[in-house]
């Protein structure tokens, strides 16, 4: 009996030992096994078409035989926590995609490699200022701009035709059109707009001349308790009143493009290119035909479209990457003019590449065309490391919107949100 037990314990101990050896071996193999190197690239869901990234990796492999590139697709939900954890580890992804509103937040942590010296190799001169701004922090470059995109109104051509509505140029026309749509078919939502689509609200706030947050002395403070934010929210509330979408959800839960629009009964909605594509595919899977038209979010006057949030992504190299030079080379290749031209073509212009020379001329009537028109008036969120803290859930902007939509005074809800924003943005 005892002998058996001793044997068992011995076996168990050996197993543990073997497991430990296995681990050590694995680690070594991954980081440095002489010749068989590997770099890991994190891209976000919907960012990198497979055909394009395969092409990039093929070209990279031709230059660096023996180096494999592992591409891992990440979901936006909860990405901040995931990236933070990854950057603290010994073997982070070598190259990673970061939202343009979040880049500064990571730059300040020291988790990203300083790319200032590589500016020449990356072709930084070609990048537009609005994109470069989000990639820098305190005069140093921490990432390469990759693409930008903004939201437009996606509409069902048939529903608009039936109600006799044409794409509006001003807010008044827009509302008048929504009234007509409502009258034409009471069972259809003239527009699907959940209560927490804060990127849409951001544009409306900027239209009013307001800001999400401003720097006051050395410190940032929120801008939601202002009259400008209140009137922006008033218009949002008006728009939202045409929708039966939940007031306490954002556009991703339920996913408007694949969970809501394909069910029918939605005449228009505000979305990004990949969302429009996703909705088309989901409709097709359901045996229906998508017939979408697109127009920029109307401005207050007809001479210029509404201001939109210029979302986008940057590609950064992790400071703890074991293959920093290779990572930088991959980065330069992917964001260089050649590959960016192919990229823009692959996404049919629905994402703007990081340089004008790579632009793709969109087809008339396409999402990309409407996006290009709207993007002229694009802006980004405050460039400060603390902004990323504001965006993490529970997001005070979203709570503000829900409160006002439920009838709370915008000034009061705004002041509460500003307090929380100030609390987070200065950290």
């Amino acid at each position: 009996m005892k002998r058996k037990l001793i044997a068992a314990v011995g076996v168990a101990g050996m197993m543990a030992g073997v497991a430990a050896c296995g681990n050590g071996g694995d680690d070594k193999g991954k980081t440095d096994a002489g010749g068989a190197k590997e770099i890991t690239v994190w891209v976000m869901d919907g960012s990198a078409p497979k055909a394009w990234i395969d092409e990039v990796n093929k070209e990279f492999a031709a230059k660096h035989p023996g180096v494999t590139v592992k591409v891992e697709v990440q979901a936006w939900k909860g990405i901040q926590e995931k990236v933070t954890t990854a950057l603290s580890e010994n073997t982070p992804p070598d190259v990673l995609e970061l939202g343009n509103t979040q880049t500064a937040g990571y730059a300040v942590t020291g988790g990203l490699a300083d790319l200032t010296k590589d500016k020449g190799g990356l072709g930084a001169d070609a990048w537009p200022k609005s994109m470069l701004e989000s990639a820098e922090y305190e005069g140093k470059l921490y990432s390469a701009p990759w693409y930008a995109a903004n939201r437009v109104v996606v509409y069902d051509k048939k529903a608009f035709e039936k109600a006799g509505v044409t794409p509006p140029k001003t807010r008044d026309e827009w509302i008048a059109g929504l009234d007509k749509l409502k009258a034409a078919d009471p069972n259809t939502q003239p527009i699907y707009l959940p209560g927490q689509s804060w990127y849409v609200l951001a544009g409306l706030v900027w239209d009013e001349g307001g800001e999400l947050a401003v720097k006051d002395g050395g410190k940032w403070k929120g801008g939601l308790g202002t009259p400008q934010a209140a009137s922006a929210m008033e218009f949002y509330k008006k728009l939202q009143s045409y929708s039966t979408a939940p007031k306490d959800k954002d556009e991703a839960s339920p996913q408007q493009s694949t969970d809501v629009v394909p069910k029918g009964g939605v005449a228009s909605w505000i979305g990004l290119g990949w969302e429009a594509g996703g909705a088309e595919k989901a409709l097709k899977d359901a045996g229906k035909e998508a017939d979408f038209g697109y127009f920029p979010i109307p401005g207050k006057t007809a001479d210029k479209p509404g201001t939109v949030f210029l979302g986008g992504s940057n590609l950064a190299v992790a400071e703890r990457s074991k293959n920093k030079e290779l990572a930088k080379e991959w980065l330069a290749l992917a964001t260089g003019k050649d590959q960016m031209t192919k990229y823009a073509a692959e996404v049919k212009g629905s994402l703007l590449p990081n340089q004008a020379a790579a632009n793709f001329t969109p087809a008339p009537g396409s999402f990309a065309e409407a996006m290009g028109k709207a993007g002229v008036n694009g802006r980004i969120t405050p460039v400060t490391p603390g902004w990323a803290n504001v965006e993490t859930e529970p997001n005070p902007l979203k709570e503000f919107m829900t409160k006002v939509l439920k009838g709370e005074d915008p000034a009061k809800a705004g002041a509460e949100a500003d307090k929380e924003i100030a609390n987070r943005i200065n950290k």
Partner: protein, 342 residues
Amino acid sequence: MTVHSQGAATAPQDAPHEPGGPKAPQPPQRPAGVPEAAPAPRGRRAALPSGWLPYLLVAPAVLSMAVLLLYPLAKNVILSFQKVDKIEFIQRKAPFHGVENYTQLLGDAQFWTVVLRSFLFTAANVAVIMVVGSLIGLLLNRLGKWMRLVLSMALVMAWAMPIVASVTVFQWLFDEQFGVMNWLMRTLGFSGYEQHNWFESGLSTLVIITVLVVWGSVPFVALNMYAGLTTVGGELYEAARMDGANGWQTFWQVVFPNLKPFFLVTTFLEVIWVFKAFTQVYAMNRGGPDRASETLPVFAFVEGQSQGHYALAAAISVLTIVMLVVVMSFYFRLILKQEEEQ
């Protein structure tokens, strides 16, 4: 949790049998007749294997406890006295911060709101779980063979359902646009359920979470209750009937005193379990709306993981443990008192 407690409950009963069993060739150590001659606990203890074997036997358990519980706990306590936010976390620094995290928490009105909410949530849940669980346990005892089997199967299935999966089901049941509950309320003729948002307020969200938690916990109580009831001899019921006791009296005079240890253990297990329930609360609505359904573990997670205040979250969890220990001290006092009485 539940599996653990059952193992712990059965172990002491099995243990005394083992030493008598093995016929190992060790005559000098075990003078024949001693175990039989002294059935008292003292005599049995003498028959237990001595030397290093007992230590070896408990070593794996102790070791895994130390590695998986003690070490993280110690780390957590240390972390709660440091300053670790996102920047420190990535740069792997951990400067000493004194009791700053604790003073910040104790002076924060939001923290106290969450504490109060956690206690009320736990009390409500445990009360409903114990009442419903006991009733179903009694029902199980009364049912015929087949119906009992069906009900037990249903209970086990509810118990076996993975938490996140059941939360997802509940989310869809109570969905604002496509939910079955809204449809049901409309069909039953209630007005105002066209697009009723069940997650509109923190209270409403917590009520739905309570339904989920109760649904998930009742099987444990009901099945244990049934198991306990089988140990109550039929002659006791008969005697009660002879004395003219009704059902209510039978329960309080016969069943309850007999099953008092069961009620005690189960109640306190449920207190621990509900108080630290994280998955149900977080997955349902991420502590929302506007942080109004956050209980202590969710509060710690939101502050720690989402907001990146790792050290502050550690302080929250240390305070949570302290609170649980205070609550559980009542239980330990009861247990100790019982031991003394025996």
